[in-house]
């Protein structure tokens, strides 16, 4: 936890017309750390992720990458820095096989034609190091289960050798077993020293894998909690604002003041 944050956002603000989507938001992620980003619908999670991924840059605020200011204005800029984003609605092509999807947009060529053998070998290697089990890397993604598709999508983000992986609702619509597989994979990313931002509505998942929880409420920071020392109820009340009174506001101020 002592290392420089891979990503540090300071005072990020974003407006959409008359709506102030984000106000003065801070966020830090260190290598080998899983930070869960939680909040109710409309709290600004997606907006914040889009700002990091370069899809919708912030209006104001500092973007520090490994301690140095960086400019992220297009998705390409974020990818250059080493940010990989796995979107909720799975960016996979159903008609292509697993290898085709993993290497889509970064195909390996050999004398001008696709090097299928090398891509297949590397795909197997990658899936093996991440302990992902897929029946075959040569079957169309359409015939995989939801959890397998999600793991393929996450594995795909690993090919660019990222430093920060953003997972947007990776376990939504997954079964018990599949959710466990994805959570295992998240832990493996952490073991490999990657920083992970995990967006989730599922408190059980958050408690299971996250090191810290950053809560957004109505576009503002509403506390950052260490998962180990925080009860689920505390996080939920921070999300919903159910205990939004002078006392909690005071503790929230203290929590914010500490970081």
């Amino acid at each position: 936890m002592s290392a420089t944050p891979v990503l540090a956002l300071r005072g990020i603000s974003k407006r959409f017309g008359a709506v102030q989507a984000l106000t003065d938001v801070d966020l830090e992620v260190r290598p080998g750390e899983v930070v869960a980003l939680v909040g109710d619908n409309g709290a600004g999670k997606s907006t914040l992720v889009k700002a990091i991924a370069g899809v919708g840059p912030a209006d104001e605020g500092e973007f520090l990458w490994e301690g140095k200011p960086a400019k992220v204005e297009r998705p390409h800029d974020a990818q250059e820095l080493g940010v990989a984003t796995v979107y909720q609605d799975l960016a996979l092509c159903d008609n292509l096989d697993v290898v085709g999807n993993l290497f889509l947009g970064r195909e390996i060529n050999r004398v001008g034609v696709l090097d299928e053998v090398e891509m297949e070998r590397r795909s197997r290697e990658l899936l093996q190091t991440l302990s992902i089990r897929i029946p075959s890397v040569r079957i169309p993604v359409a015939s995989l289960s939801g959890g397998q598709r999600q793991t393929v999508a996450i594995a795909r983000s690993m090919l660019g050798d990222p430093k920060l992986v953003i997972l947007d609702e990776p376990t939504a619509a997954l079964g018990v077993e599949q959710t466990a597989q994805v959570l295992d994979l998240v832990e493996r990313l952490r073991e490999r020293g990657l920083a992970v931002i995990l967006i989730s509505h599922n408190m059980a998942d958050v408690k299971a894998v996250a090191d810290r929880v950053a809560v957004l409420r109505l576009g503002r920071n509403n506390g950052v909690f260490d998962v180990a020392g925080t009860s689920q109820e505390e996080i939920i009340s921070a999300i919903t604002g159910a205990t939004d009174n002078a006392v909690t506001r005071r503790t929230a101020r203290k929590a914010e003041g500490k970081q």
């Binding site: 889509l104 696709l114 053998v117 197997r124």
Partner: protein, 435 residues
């Protein structure tokens, strides 16, 4: 072989249970092979079960069109014994080239999940441009040919631009093209009407030249078989060296053998008449080239990706607009090429070129051949297979002296059948795909 066939049904019932029973304990010890993967058994029976499974799950591929072609040929041969004569088949092979080339471009557009309705008009325009430049203005034929192809490419690029950059539906853009390019063709031909091509010229030769030496057709067949078999062997060896699954030798031998039978039968038939037609050679070369482009290059992979999910392709960093424009440009170019081939066959460019059912035939050929209208599934060989079906029907009915209206109705029925098969197999794949 027959014992294998007769035994398979009863075996089919017992194997799954036996497999799961043995697979369960094995999975704990060795994690190399996923127990969920249905590994194909060795030998002929493995082929059969694999084949049946593919059919059931809707991966029909080229099977319906091959079966349809056999049925059509059998029917016409029984009605008129001249149908399967060397002369008729040789003529058929030249007849299908013009529309077949147009259909190759259509395959690419269909893979994107789009449609191009302008290819008929563009083909007519290309023929007219060529004739006016080469015959009326005395330009060198090769230069006129290149300019005609460039005209097609430009027309396609215009469609692509309006579709990809402005966001107008391809259906509407190319419908406008259908009218506009036909009008332009009439204007180009304005003063002359019909222009006859030089019979000895480059373009006329395209469909009139035959390599009468028997060595040509046999040589081509031999080269095809050797290259195919050699490539498969090399690929298998590389895969083995890299430690990824590879095709067993027996399977390679079987595939190469099947190709050899077809290639040499075709070569033999062609040699019975006038030898290997130049037009067919050009068509086959185009098919091989575009097949490689589609299946073996990054460009082809991107075309398939766009047909599968545009959004996924965009997020993978693929320049969606550039690919779309290039595909429509390619369709326009191939339409122009096909138009020149058709002009070559009738030795003239006239005001009726590119109209009638040419457009429908080109699209129908791609769909009948097994390329999906829904995008993302198909291959360029469907242009050949589909045109063989359509050409056979036209040719067979002409032999029987049937009127044109019967041909339209039958071709329409075949197209409907092909689209029904496409839709049903897509539905079956969806239900069988996600387990």
């Amino acid at each position: 072989m027959s014992t294998e066939l007769s035994r398979s049904p009863e075996d089919g019932g017992s194997t799954p249970a036996a497999e799961t029973a043995t697979a369960a304990p094995a999975a704990g010890a060795v994690t190399a092979v996923d127990p969920r993967l249905l590994v194909r058994e060795q030998g002929f029976k493995g082929y059969l079960t694999e084949f049946v499974r593919r059919m059931r799950s809707g991966e029909l591929g080229s099977v319906p069109v091959v079966v349809g072609l056999i049925v059509i040929w059998a029917i016409f041969q029984s009605l008129d014994s001249a149908f399967l004569s060397a002369q008729n088949l040789s003529n058929l092979s030249v007849y299908i080239v013009g529309t077949g080339l147009i259909s190759v471009g259509i395959v690419f557009v269909l893979l994107l999940g789009e449609i191009d309705l302008s290819v008929g008009s563009v083909s007519g325009l290309a023929g007219a441009v060529f004739a006016v430049l080469a015959v009326n203005n005395g330009m060198a034929e090769w230069l006129a040919l290149l300019l005609a192809l460039a005209t097609g490419a430009a027309a396609g690029a215009v469609h692509g631009f309006f579709f990809a950059r402005i966001g107008v539906p391809a259906f509407v853009v190319t419908l406008a093209g259908l009218l506009a390019w036909n009008g332009l063709m009439l204007q180009v031909l304005d003063s002359t009407g019909t222009i006859n091509l030089d019979d000895e010229g480059l373009v006329a030769t395209l469909t009139s030249h035959y390599f009468s030496d028997v060595a040509a057709a046999y040589g081509l067949a031999a080269v095809a078989v050797l290259v195919f078999g050699g490539a498969q062997l090399l690929d298998a060896r590389r895969r083995q060296a890299a430690g990824v699954p590879f095709r067993p030798l027996a399977e390679i031998a079987l595939r190469t053998g099947v190709l050899a039978v077809f290639a040499f039968a075709a070569a033999y038939t062609l040699n019975q008449y006038r030898g290997l037609p130049l037009a067919l050679l050009v068509f086959l070369a185009v098919l091989v080239l575009f097949d490689l482009l589609l299946r073996r290059t990054g460009y082809g992979r991107k075309v398939f990706a766009l047909g599968g999910s545009t959004e996924a392709a965009r997020r993978a960093g693929i320049n969606v607009a550039a690919i779309r424009i290039s595909v429509f440009t390619l369709a326009g170019t191939m339409a122009a090429f096909g138009g020149l081939m058709i002009a070559s066959r009738i030795s003239a460019a006239n005001q009726g070129a590119g109209s009638g059912n040419l457009l429908m035939e080109a699209i129908a050929a791609a769909v009948i051949g097994g390329t999906s209208l829904f995008g993302g599934r198909g291959n360029v060989w469907s242009a050949l297979l589909g045109m063989l079906v359509i050409g056979s029907i036209a040719n067979g009915l002409a032999l029987l002296g049937s009127p044109a209206h019967l041909q339209y109705m039958i071709t329409g029925g075949v197209l409907l059948a092909a689209v029904v098969i496409d839709s049903v197999s897509r539905r079956t794949q969806k239900s069988a795909g996600r387990t």
